[in-house]
């Protein structure tokens, strides 16, 4: 990035058409340049498309940040059997809320990306696995797929090229773990969504044990723009190793929460300013750079460029660029207790460190938040995290430890206050976005 005084400008690409009337329709999308990239791609050599995506430096937008083109390149040579593209549209990471508006407002961006990607990797049946708890997003996707068939962008002999492609939109049924790519594949095969042992990786043995590419919605939706405007255009945005634009989702105690599409490497300070700052009369306390699975940051980290390397070097992860922002009224123990309850609820039960570890973390966090904890509990939290991190079958276990470890490190004193004061020192009513009197009675649990 450039030096001080430089203002990073927002770069709406995927979100550019979201404000249009009936933005989700084929005709609207087409009128704004939709399917021009697909037209271009179908006339290209398949290897050239893969090379362009490799050269663009596009990295997985679902959280892990693995180079997308390289993932495609891992597919073994064509053996005449089927190979699949599966789009991970299971967006469920606490804080992540970018793929749902993408598919609600501009589902054809994703469908066009699916057409190009499928053509490039030699796939004739692609799947979009969307979480089941968003019925209108599912309706819009199904409609977009139907329109793509009607307009000859799906089906047989697409635009006379001889390329065939079917797309199935599949609704999940409520399970965070299905965002893990191998759990997603098991779920798509009609099983409990539990992760698979790797290797073999999906590129070798994925859906139905066939070579499979699993990519996030935003990754695939970014492909048409790369084909349309070129590698140089894409790499002109972002930082050295984190190229292009991405959706940054700001939520919580900010004046204008929402989606901000910007070059990777923009700073949280810039984003916060664009969002109108922290709500009036308050100051920033802590925030997540990439969802609840990424270690929390404070106002000490407002100038960390939001790219993969910088956020990593500062001790967290870019993840899904989900900035959940909490002001000075928020109890960090309460916040982490609730995330911990989430991980316990969503642990699939397959491996012991995660299943048992998240259970104990939740018990201890609850004890501390309600003032029944001891000083030894704080150390016990860290010890329990030691038994989970690096020992769980998939990334969910590690994720569960991230908010716990980072909050104890940054706010140990606040944990201790819960013990010495025998309760939570914060008034939850002060954090709410509406006025109410803190009620003494317990809610139905």
């Amino acid at each position: 990035m450039e030096g001080a005084g430089h203002v990073t400008q927002l770069t709406p690409v995927l979100s550019a058409t979201w404000g249009l009337e009936h933005s989700w329709n084929f005709d609207t999308y087409r009128a704004h340049g939709g399917y021009e990239a697909a037209t271009k791609a179908l006339a290209m050599d398949q290897a050239d498309i893969i090379q362009a995506v490799k050269d663009s430096g596009l990295r997985g937008r679902g959280g892990a940040g693995f180079p997308t083109g390289m993932k495609w390149g891992f597919l073994p040579a064509d053996d005449g059997g089927p190979r699949y593209l599966v789009v991970n549209a299971d967006e469920s990471e606490p804080g992540a809320c970018k793929d749902m508006p993408t598919m609600m407002a501009a589902p054809h961006t994703l469908i066009e990306g699916v057409v190009i990607t499928s053509f490039a990797i030699g796939c004739d049946h692609a799947f979009i696995y969307v979480r089941g708890e968003v019925i209108h997003v599912y309706r819009r996707l199904m409609k977009a797929v139907a329109e793509a068939y009607d307009n000859g962008w799906l089906g047989t002999n697409i635009k006379g090229t001889g390329f065939n492609l079917d797309v199935t939109v599949h609704a999940g049924a409520g399970a965070y773990i299905c965002g893990e790519e191998t759990a997603l594949l098991d779920s798509l095969e009609g099983r409990r969504g539990q992760p698979r042992l790797k290797p073999p990786f999906p590129a070798v043995a994925g859906l139905y044990a066939r070579p499979t590419v699993v990519n996030n919605v935003e990754s695939i939706a970014s492909v048409p723009s790369i084909i349309n405007h070129g590698v140089d255009w894409f790499t002109s945005m972002g930082t050295d190793k984190s190229k292009g634009m991405g959706l940054f989702s700001l939520s919580g105690h900010v004046n204008r929460p929402g989606q901000y599409e910007a070059p990777l490497g923009i700073t949280p300070r810039e984003l916060l300013e664009m969002a109108g700052g922290i709500r009036d009369g308050h100051t920033l306390k802590f925030w997540t750079p990439g969802g609840s699975s990424t270690p929390i940051f404070t106002d000490d980290h407002l100038d960390v460029p939001l790219d993969y390397e910088s956020v990593g070097a500062a001790g967290s992860m870019l993840g899904t660029r989900s900035l959940q922002i909490f002001d000075d009224t928020t109890c960090v123990v309460r916040a982490v207790e609730r995330w911990t309850e989430f991980y316990k609820h969503e642990s699939c039960g397959k491996c012991t460190p995660c299943r048992e570890g998240t259970y104990w973390l939740d018990l201890i966090m609850r004890r501390l938040e309600t003032g029944r904890g001891t000083m030894a509990d704080i150390q016990q939290l860290l010890d329990t995290c030691d038994s989970i991190a690096g020992r769980a079958f998939c990334a969910l276990g590690d994720a569960a430890t991230a908010p716990v470890i980072s909050s104890v490190t940054l706010f140990r004193e606040e944990y201790e206050r819960h013990v010495t004061e025998g309760g939570c020192p914060f008034d939850p009513a002060a954090s709410a976005l509406f006025d109410y009197d803190s009620a003494p009675e317990e809610a139905h649990a």
Partner: protein, 218 residues
């Protein structure tokens, strides 16, 4: 199998349509479970038996899958499923208080249904609408920027027989059974209803326009 003949026939016809979407039959299990839920309002013993017969699985194998996913209900669900996000962000922004008042008003707790079968309540995990916190979902439609008052109003409207109108969704909330049928992959013709995006989804776009930022030159 205890479905009456006409129901069984319709289900078999729908199932055939679902099978046609997949190269391998077993992939149809999740949509099939949504489908039987659209008939019975939950995953009933009949529904499990039906899925098992269609897929040549044991009923234990089908149950093992059904019980893994929170959207499949094991007891008859209410006509309206009211979910309050109580994951951290929404809870802190007011979801906890919304839940408290709603639960007190309706008189049931998490994953419970009123005696008249009208309303089921659920504490939700993150539903990917954080920039609209606090969020509620009714039969999986978005209700954004909720307050205790707007949540209680939903209950009044349900009891008065009025339609509920989501913030970002169809023109009205369809019943739990009808929603389950959509999730099984059967179009209800409502995709063109509702907005493209809410204001928060457009926040960055608004800012770019205000500043005259054209985005990266293309």
């Amino acid at each position: 199998m205890t479905y009456d003949e006409s129901t069984a026939k319709l289900l078999a016809k729908d199932a055939a349509e679902i099978f046609a979407r997949y190269p391998v039959r077993r992939s149809a299990l999740l949509p099939l479970l949504h489908l039987v839920q659209s008939v019975d309002g939950y995953v009933s013993p009949d529904g499990i038996q039906f899925c098992a017969e269609q897929l040549d699985l044991s009923s234990a194998e089908v149950s093992a899958v059904a019980t893994f996913y929170t959207q499949y209900k094991r007891r008859p669900n209410g006509e309206y499923q009211l979910g309050v996000c109580t994951n951290t962000l929404c809870a802190v922004m007011g979801g906890d208080e919304i839940w408290r008042q709603l639960s007190e008003r309706v008189g049931v707790g998490h994953d419970e249904t009123t005696a008249d079968g009208k309303i089921s309540l659920e504490r939700l995990e993150c539903n990917a609408g954080c920039d609209y916190a606090p969020v509620m979902m009714v039969n999986w439609e978005f209700f954004d920027n909720m307050t205790p008052e707007s949540a209680l109003q939903l209950v009044d409207d349900i009891l008065a027989g009025k339609d509920l109108v989501p913030t970002r969704g169809a023109d009205k909330v369809v019943s739990f059974k009808e929603a389950s049928r959509v999730l099984a992959g059967f179009d209800d013709g409502r995709a063109d209803e509702g907005v493209s995006a809410g204001r928060p989804s457009l926040a960055g776009l608004d800012k770019a326009k205000e500043q005259g930022w054209k985005g990266q030159d293309t």
